[in-house]
Each structure stands twice: as structure tokens, then as C-alpha cells.
């Protein structure tokens, strides 16, 4: 991981190139995070790629309920030559959950972006094929959001077993 000063230097470089691209930096337990502006995410990732972070290890979403903006998209970047990891976080709100897609820069982001769309509802502009990937195509709702219920079947006892299962039980 870049240490805290390395992280600040990278953030400064990005702020020099575009002033509102980085909103914040976090450094916790050895992990460096750049909190980026979701509208400038392509710029940030392109800059990081030019600095050597060429491998997108993971692209996933987090729901920060109840802190706004709720939906965060995280990009875990990896520099294979120096074995260095840096994370980029972009937070969007549920009212306007749009962010640019990075599939043309990192073709391996295809499936993960579909998964974030499926689970959180974040729409990736420019994604060639944004469909639900894990849930059935006509499913309504975005399951991984914190206000989506976990669901499931009630525990069956003798008194409720006939009501719960269908005619086959």
C-alpha cells in the first residue's frame, strides 16, 4: 500500500489536474482510499493507470445507509510491478444513481458493474450490456441495499407447517 504521504501526494496530483476530482482521502490500517467525485471517476482511474495501477482487482458496491450519499462504488486498483494497492471510492445518492462506466478502460469491469447495478441499482453510463446478472431479469428491487429486507421462510413448527409450504408438503 502507499503509505499516508504517498496517498496524499497522489491525491495532490489529481487535484492539480482537476480541482474537484478528489473529495477526500482516507488511510486506515494500511489501506489507502481516494474518495473521488463520481463525475470525474474516469479521469481518476486513467491517472492511476498511468501511474502504474493497471489491474482492477475488484469493483464492488457498498451501501452507506444512513450516511448520505448512500451508494458507494469501490474500485480496488493494483500495481503489479510494485505490488501496491490503492482504492478509489465514489459515492452517489439514490436519487441520481448514475456513474460512468469504465469498461472500455478495464474490460474486466463488465460483470462486476452489472453486479453492482443488480444489487444496488447504480446505473453505469456507457456500459454495453447493463442487465441484471444474479437475480432473475424481471426481479424488482435491489437486494443488497440496506433497506431491502433479508427475506426468507418462517421457521416451521407443527402449528404452521401446513400454511407455509405448498400443496406438496
Amino acid at each position: 500500500m502507499p503509505d499516508a504521504t504517498g496517498l496524499e501526494l497522489t491525491a495532490q496530483e489529481l487535484r492539480d489536474s482537476d480541482s474537484d476530482s478528489i473529495r477526500d482521502t482516507e488511510f486506515h490500517r494500511g489501506r489507502a482510499v481516494l474518495v473521488a467525485n463520481p463525475e470525474k471517476i474516469r479521469l481518476v482511474l486513467e491517472h492511476l493507470r498511468s501511474k502504474g495501477y493497471t489491474f482492477l482487482a475488484s469493483l464492488h458496491g457498498v451501501d452507506y445507509y444512513p450516511h448520505e450519499p448512500r451508494l458507494g462504488v469501490l474500485y480496488e486498483m493494483l500495481d503489479r510491478s510494485t505490488v501496491d494497492r490503492i482504492s478509489v471510492k465514489a459515492r452517489v445518492s439514490t436519487d441520481a444513481p448514475r456513474i460512468d462506466s469504465v469498461v472500455d478502460m478495464f474490460p474486466g469491469a463488465n460483470f462486476p458493474e452489472r453486479e453492482v447495478y443488480d444489487m444496488f441499482g447504480v446505473v453505469f453510463d456507457g456500459h454495453p450490456d447493463l442487465r441484471r446478472i444474479l437475480m432473475p431479469e424481471d426481479y424488482e428491487g435491489h437486494p443488497q441495499r440496506r433497506d431491502f429486507p433479508v427475506g426468507g421462510e418462517p421457521v416451521l413448527f407443527t402449528y404452521n407447517e401446513e400454511q407455509s409450504y405448498g400443496k406438496y408438503m
Partner: protein, 427 residues
């Protein structure tokens, strides 16, 4: 290129997005309309359905064929989606371990290791050296077991059916070892946050050494069975070749990447859990075809045996789990004498330990590639987000370039050598 959204398309949100979505959905339904014309013949869309003997789980493939040649392939997943990440948000950290273990169901120790590593990073606990060595032993045993299942089922797909029984003979020995150390054959909950659940019993070391002695000659037997089978060699050599750069762009890791010549292994590049104490090699391929993938995984079996041998020879004395009583259960005999131990036990069992708020991403080298666990904690006893970065999920994206313009038989061989585990893909 504009940086703020699609230039030409609608800004009026949901309805047109739905129309667009429906249009995309129609493109993947299997209809009786012909799919156009290829170079010489008409294209046919064939559904290699979720229930198929050789899809290694419930993977659905929509193959666009021209004659016998595959022109395009679209994997459709989600048929074993279990909502593991959602369930994990509902349970205390201790209870997440069995839930997360069932994700990549052949590398169950790896899932638990990634999760425990992420939580240990957030807590800042030290794992004692004996626990680290025990973890390495079980991880490498699980790697061998996973490769044996891959080898057996791949050989079954490709027609070399007798290999299956030989591989499962060894896998039974490994599962016996797991049963000895933890009581369960699969999904053992042996790794806990801070170390391992229990120390290894008497007789485990002896049985392990016995196993290590017979494993390399048995692996030689597998190589013989494969090498002398001309049909298998013809099917594997020269098929499914993708170059290194494409694989790196698609975020492919693991034996698939190493088979194409890139020596990237997290055990060597970013060692975790005292992997840097051991001396082992990483098999790397040259051409990047299916034969290289087979060879890389087969050679990894020998290297894993090597690592386990070094680990069991140099197993240090000490605790098998961290002594921090706020994280790990105290041993039972202390409960009779110490009041603090009783209170710690009570708190840990009822509520669980609290993790200070933060986020951590812990990547390890699984049998299929980089398995990473992202944990976000908000200070309570339950995680706020658990995400497993599964290697097969990214590796599946490499299927399309691998099988383009090759025969269906090569598709089956490539799918076998890709080693997808649908539990990990679908989570």
C-alpha cells in the same frame, strides 16, 4: 469523450432505461429466429442450459454457432445465487464464517481465510505463528483437494473417465485429515478470527506425513494417465489460447494467468500468513493453451505438498488462537476459575466481538486466483458489508475470447480447464 454520461441518450431516467433494458433482454432469449449469417453458414443460437452434464455447476451458456464453430458465447449466471453477502450482514462476525465458507464450495478454507484476514486487519489482532502454520497446512491441503476435483471432473468431461476414481481416492484421504482436525469433511469452520478453532489432535501429524509420502507418486500416476492418452493431448494442446495482455485486461488471476506466462502469485508477491517462511516454486506456462493450464495446476499439487512438508516440519509451539479474550473464546478450563473469562465467554457468545469502524480488503491466492474479502464495519457486532471478490467471476469473462472461432468440443475442454465454481460466481 464526454465525462458526464452518455452524450446522445436520454436524461429522462426510468422509462427509456426500461425500454433499453427490455431490448437487451430480447437479445439473449433463445428464439427460433436465425441469428443472422456467419461467413459461410447461417448462425444458430444454442442454449447449453443450466442443467448440463459438463457445465461444472449451473452455468448457462448461449452459444452462437456456425456449423460446429463457436462464434460468440454469452454466459448467463445467477442460478445458484444465494444472497450470501446479504445474509452475512445479518449475523455476528463469528457466525459469518460458516456463511461465507459456502461461497466457493471447493475452496472453503480460502473463503474463511479471506474473511478472517479482513476482520483481523480491522481489529488489529495478531495471529500466533502456530496458528499461521496450521492455516497454511489446511489451505494447501484444500488447494490439493480442489485441484483433484478439477482434475477428476475435467477428465470425466473430456472422456478419460477412469481418472475420476483415482483423483477421488486421494481426495478421500484429504477429507479424512480435515475430519480429524475439525470434525467435518467440508465447510469446517476451522478458521476463526484470530487463529484456528482447535489445535490439531494426536495422530494428525502422523497421518499427514503418511499422506505427503504417497501423494507425489500418485500425482505422477495422474500425469501418466493423461500423457499417454493421445486423444486427451490432441484435445488440449493448442486449444483455447489467449494472450497474456487480454487476460490481464480482463482481471484474470490464478492458474489461468500463470498458464499464459505471467508469474503472478499472491503467495509470493504479497505473502500473508507466513507464506514467506516457505520455499516453493510457482509453475508458469508458456503457450497459454489448455494443456498448459492442466500442467500448471498439476504442478501446483507437488508444490503444495512441498509447502505442507515444510510447514509440518517447522510447526512452532504456541497458541492456536490469539490470546485476546475480547476476540477469541477462552479455553473451557479457565471458565471454572476466572471471572473475567466467564464474562468474556458470555459476551462473545451472546453478542460477539465489536469491530472498530473501518473498511478492509484482504486478498489471498485461492486455487482459482485472487480471492479477496472486503469488510466494512460500523462499530457494531455485525458487519455492515461483506463482499467476496471471487476469482471465478472474473475468470468467466475470459471464456468468450478463449472459445471464439473454435469447435464446440474445444468449448467443453476450455470450460473444463477454466475451472469455474458457480458458487463463487453467483455468491
Amino acid at each position: 469523450m464526454t465525462l458526464t454520461g452518455r452524450g446522445d441518450s436520454e436524461q429522462s431516467g426510468s422509462t427509456t432505461l426500461t425500454e433499453d433494458y427490455r431490448k437487451r433482454e430480447e437479445s439473449i432469449t433463445f428464439s427460433s429466429e436465425p441469428a443472422g449469417t456467419g461467413e459461410t453458414h447461417e448462425l444458430l443460437t444454442l442454449n447449453i442450459g443450466p442443467h448440463h452434464p459438463s457445465t461444472h455447476g449451473v452455468l448457462r451458456l448461449l452459444a452462437t454457432l456456425e456449423g460446429e464453430v463457436v462464434r460468440d458465447i454469452k454466459p448467463i449466471i445467477g442460478y445458484v445465487h444465494t444472497g450470501i453477502e446479504k445474509t452475512a450482514e445479518d449475523k455476528a462476525y463469528w457466525k459469518v464464517i460458516p456463511v461465507v465458507e459456502r461461497m466457493d464450495y471447493l475452496g472453503y478454507y480460502f473463503n474463511a481465510m479471506a474473511f478472517c484476514g479482513a476482520v483481523e486487519t480491522l481489529l488489529g489482532t495478531e495471529v500466533p505463528p502456530r496458528a499461521q502454520y496450521l492455516r497454511v497446512i489446511h489451505l494447501e491441503l484444500n488447494r490439493i483437494a480442489s485441484h483433484l476435483v478439477w482434475l477428476g471432473t475435467s477428465a470425466l468431461d473430456l472422456g478419460a473417465i477412469s481418472m475420476f476414481w483415482y483423483c477421488y481416492r486421494e481426495r478421500e484421504l484429504i477429507l479424512d485429515l480435515f475430519e480429524m482436525s475439525s470434525g467435518q469433511r467440508m465447510h469446517t469452520r476451522y478458521f476463526q478470527v484470530g487463529g484456528v478453532m482447535e489445535d490439531i489432535p494426536r495422530g494428525f501429524e502422523q497421518k499427514l506425513r503418511q499422506f505427503l509420502k504417497i501423494m507425489p507418486p500418485r500425482a505422477d500416476q495422474y500425469a501418466d494417465l493423461f500423457e499417454k492418452n493421445q486423444i486427451l493431448l490432441e484435445r488440449l494442446r493448442g486449444t483455447g489460447i489467449v494472450d497474456r495482455e487480454t487476460l490481464l485486461e480482463l482481471n484474470v488471476t490464478g492458474p489461468l494467468l500463470r498458464a499464459s506466462g505471467e508469474p503472478w502469485d499472491l503467495r509470493k508477491a504479497a505473502p500473508y500468513s507466513s507464506y514467506d517462511h516457505f520455499d516453493f516454486k510457482i509453475p508458469v506456462g508458456t503457450v497459454g493453451d489448455n494443456y498448459d493450464r492442466f500442467r500448471v495446476r498439476h504442478a501446483e499439487i507437488y508444490q503444495s505438498v512441498n509447502i505442507i512438508q515444510q510447514a509440518i516440519d517447522g510447526l512452532p509451539e504456541g497458541e492456536h488462537i490469539t490470546t485476546d479474550r475480547k476476540v477469541a473464546l477462552p479455553p473451557r478450563h479457565e471458565l471454572a476459575t476466572s471471572m473475567e473469562a466467564l464474562i468474556h465467554h458470555f459476551k462473545l457468545v451472546t453478542e460477539g466481538f465489536r469491530v472498530p469502524p473501518g473498511e478492509a480488503y484482504y486478498p489471498i491466492e485461492g486455487p482459482r486466483g485472487e480471492l479477496g474479502c472486503f469488510v466494512r464495519s460500523d462499530g457494531s457486532a455485525k458487519p455492515a458489508r461483506v463482499h467476496m471478490r471471487d476469482p471465478s467471476f472474473s475468470n468467466l469473462q475470459a471464456l468468450a475470447p478463449m472459445v471464439k472461432d473454435s469447435y464446440i468440443a474445444d468449448l467443453i475442454a476450455t470450460l473444463a480447464m477454466l475451472d469455474p465454481i458457480l458458487g463463487g460466481i453467483d455468491r
